[in-house]
Each structure stands twice: as structure tokens, then as C-alpha cells.
């Protein structure tokens, strides 16, 4: 039986990808961030999940304002690296797992989560930066990936509660799959940041710390946090944190925290990372 054993939540700041691609990890600006990622990479080298289901948001790469799916699942064999306006990152393409992805799509839709099904899906920094954070720079990614794109750019995104419930449905669907697979679910984006407006640069460390502290033990409470509170406290782009609850929903009720890191800044963002193992 396939099983969701691991959960990873991490920021997906594009500048982190640029730093990795250009070998800047030891520079004074970046070193404190990447020192905290070492533990995550060591953990991943042992954990070695067979499949990652990766919740992220597309940033005007595969989707634009003409079509905005709230939840979209990638069912292709391969996902090319998107050109986001400055050429694609020089990293390997991402290989999918169409059989399992279609099972998830069917199971989730029959479970009343109305997924959009996508075959032609170039993936941007939202997906690739978390991969680089935990896997570094391999020649090929040592894992198959099922992209789960969530709209968090056009207001309103799905609620925190809906994301948490989707995670629970993903867990049910994975556990119906009759193949011995270890699955990790990633929730990406956040933590507090605001890229736009006169309030650009907003960071709320007390809020982020509380979020990290409560994600393992009180996910039901975090599922009640409203969009207005997220926009106000975590900033206009910090609302991405709803995607962390997809990961948390997909994990067992009790989890063991195995790694945590928090650093300000990564570009204009408070970068957070937390890893759970199921019980």
C-alpha cells in the first residue's frame, strides 16, 4: 500500500533558486539560510520518498488571468521548466507519475474536490525551488513528482480549511493505491512576506513563529485562520501559507517534527521550513 509518511513545508522564493543555480550558497547574505537547509538535505538523503505530491502556486507561468484553476493536478509524464520571463532555470525536467496522478484526480473528484486536470504544465519556481532546497543540484531528480497547483494570486484563494480538507482527501486517496510507495507531501510558499504596495517588505516573525509552533499540534486551529487575518498578519503574498495546510492535512493526526529552520530575509521574504514524519 502507498503511504504518506513525510510532510515538508517550505518557502519557495525565486531568489533561493538563483542563489543555488549560481553557487552563492556560501556568500554572507545566503549562508545563514543555507546552513539551515543542510539538515533538510541530510534528512531527505535518508528519507528517499518514491513520490512527492507538491502543493505550490503557479506565478503567471503555466496559467494566466484567462484561466485560473483553484486546484489543478498535473498528470503528465514530464513537466518542463517554465520560462518566467528571464529564461528557464538550468535544472533537470521534473518527471511525473501519471498512473498515480490520475488515481488521485479520480479519487479526489469523487470525494467532491473538483480538481482541474492538467497535462501541459510547465513548472515554475513555486515547484522547483522547494525541490532544489531539499535535493540540491542532482543531475536528475531522484523522485517522481505530482504537481498540485493552487491559486493564491487571484483573490479569493481556497480557504485554509478547504486546503486542510483537501490534504485529508489526498491521504485517503494515496492509501487506496495498491503499490508499496513512500509518499511525501510538500506544502510550499510563505512565510510572511509582501512584495507589493507601500507596505512592501512586511515581515511578521511572531506570527510565523506561532504558525511553525502550531502546525504540528494545532492544525485544526490554523484551518480556521481567515484570509483577512492572513493578508493582514502574513502579508499579501504570505497568504500562500494556506498551502502548508494541504501538507498537514495529508499527514497523520500526530506528527513528529524532525527539522525546522527560519531566516529573514530571503530576498523580500521570511523563509521558513519544517519537516514532519508521520506516526
Amino acid at each position: 500500500m502507498a503511504e504518506v509518511k513525510f510532510g515538508v513545508a517550505t518557502s519557495h522564493v525565486p531568489a533561493i533558486g538563483v542563489a543555488i543555480d549560481n553557487g552563492k550558497e556560501d556568500e554572507p547574505y545566503w549562508a545563514p539560510l543555507f546552513e539551515g537547509y543542510e539538515g533538510a538535505r541530510k534528512w531527505m538523503a535518508d528519507a528517499r520518498p518514491d513520490v512527492v505530491i507538491l502543493a505550490y502556486n503557479d506565478h503567471a507561468s503555466a496559467f494566466d488571468l484567462s484561466l485560473i484553476p483553484t486546484f489543478a493536478i498535473g498528470v503528465a509524464d514530464e513537466f518542463p521548466i517554465a520560462d518566467e520571463g528571464y529564461g528557464p532555470r538550468d535544472i533537470p525536467p521534473v518527471f511525473g507519475y501519471p498512473e498515480l496522478a490520475w488515481h488521485l484526480a479520480e479519487s479526489l473528484i469523487l470525494d467532491e474536490f473538483d480538481m482541474t486536470i492538467v497535462t501541459d504544465l510547465p513548472v515554475d519556481h513555486g515547484l522547483t525551488v522547494p525541490m532544489s532546497i531539499v535535493y540540491g543540484k542532482p543531475e536528475t531528480w531522484p523522485v517522481r513528482v505530482i504537481p498540485l497547483a493552487v491559486n493564491v494570486i487571484q483573490y479569493p484563494p481556497p480557504t485554509a480549511r478547504r486546503c486542510y480538507d483537501l490534504g485529508r482527501a489526498i491521504r485517503r486517496a494515496v492509501h487506496q493505491w495498491d503499490e508499496d510507495l513512500t509518499v511525501a507531501v510538500f506544502g510550499t510558499g510563505g512565510m510572511s512576506h509582501q512584495l507589493q504596495g507601500e507596505r512592501a517588505g512586511w515581515v511578521n516573525t511572531p506570527f510565523d513563529t506561532s504558525y511553525l509552533n502550531r502546525l504540528g499540534s494545532e492544525p485544526e486551529a490554523l484551518a480556521e485562520v481567515t484570509h483577512t487575518e492572513l493578508l493582514k498578519e502574513a502579508g499579501s503574498e504570505g497568504i500562500e501559507l494556506v498551502m502548508w495546510l494541504i501538507m498537514r492535512g495529508a499527514m497523520s493526526r500526530e506528527v513528529r517534527e524532525v527539522h525546522r529552520h527560519y531566516h529573514v530575509p530571503a530576498s523580500n521574504t521570511a523563509a521558513g521550513l519544517i519537516i514532519f514524519e508521520g506516526t
Binding site: L65, D83, G85, I153, Y155, G197, G201, E237, P265
Partner: protein, 122 residues
């Protein structure tokens, strides 16, 4: 026509990209989207004015793009993930854009982030 005022509209210095913004900024954002294609970036580089002629921008939106007025682009319906494609095209940083939108220099903005970000506003 009645307009419902929602709590998320009252966060100072913050532009929530709702349906009204979507409609206002549709042409502007979709123009930015075309910069994902290398040939289009070349065309934009060759003649910005002629490139913008191909899109149904308002005169104000057009001026905000040509003048790289990042805050004005937001006010006119721009979404930061779309308009930032112009900044990436220019080779300027998110700190440059954030600084201009909040009325400080790029260096000041960068230092503010290193010091822990903007912790209070309004």
C-alpha cells in the same frame, strides 16, 4: 451600483487582487505575460512603444509601464507577479521595486529586510 466594502480592502498599503482589479488590469497583466516568450522580449527591447501598441492599455497604464512606475501599475490593476516580469526584463531586483513602491532606496530596502523586514505599518 453598490460596491461592497470588504475587510481585506482596509489593509493599509496593500492592493488585494480581487475581481475589480482583475478587470481593470487584464490587458496590462496579459501584456506582461507575453514577456515569458524570448522573441517577445526581443521585440519589447527593440521598440517598447510599438510593442505596447499591440495591447489595449489605457494611456495611464501605458505611461506607467514606460516610466516603470511600479506603484502606479498596481493602482491601475497590475498584479505584482505579472508586472515584476518587466522588472526582470530590466534586470532590476525585487528590492528596487519594493523600495520604489514604499518610497525608499533599493539599499535602504535591502537593509530593512536584513534587519528583519518591515514590522509595522500605518
Amino acid at each position: 451600483m453598490a460596491t461592497k466594502r470588504l475587510p481585506q480592502h482596509d489593509i493599509p498599503g496593500t492592493y488585494v487582487f480581487d475581481g475589480a482589479h482583475h478587470r481593470k488590469g487584464y490587458a496590462l497583466n496579459m501584456m506582461c505575460m507575453t514577456l515569458n516568450v524570448p522573441e517577445n522580449r526581443d521585440a519589447f527591447r527593440a521598440d517598447e512603444e510599438a510593442y505596447l501598441d499591440k495591447f489595449d492599455l489605457t494611456p495611464e497604464q501605458r505611461r506607467s509601464v514606460l516610466e516603470r512606475d511600479w506603484l502606479e501599475m498596481l493602482r491601475l490593476g497590475g498584479n505584482i507577479y505579472y508586472t515584476f516580469k518587466i522588472a526582470a526584463f530590466d534586470g532590476v531586483s525585487m528590492q528596487h521595486v519594493g523600495g520604489q513602491m514604499s518610497g525608499i532606496t533599493e539599499d535602504e530596502f535591502t537593509q530593512m529586510m536584513i534587519n528583519g523586514g518591515r514590522n509595522s505599518f500605518g
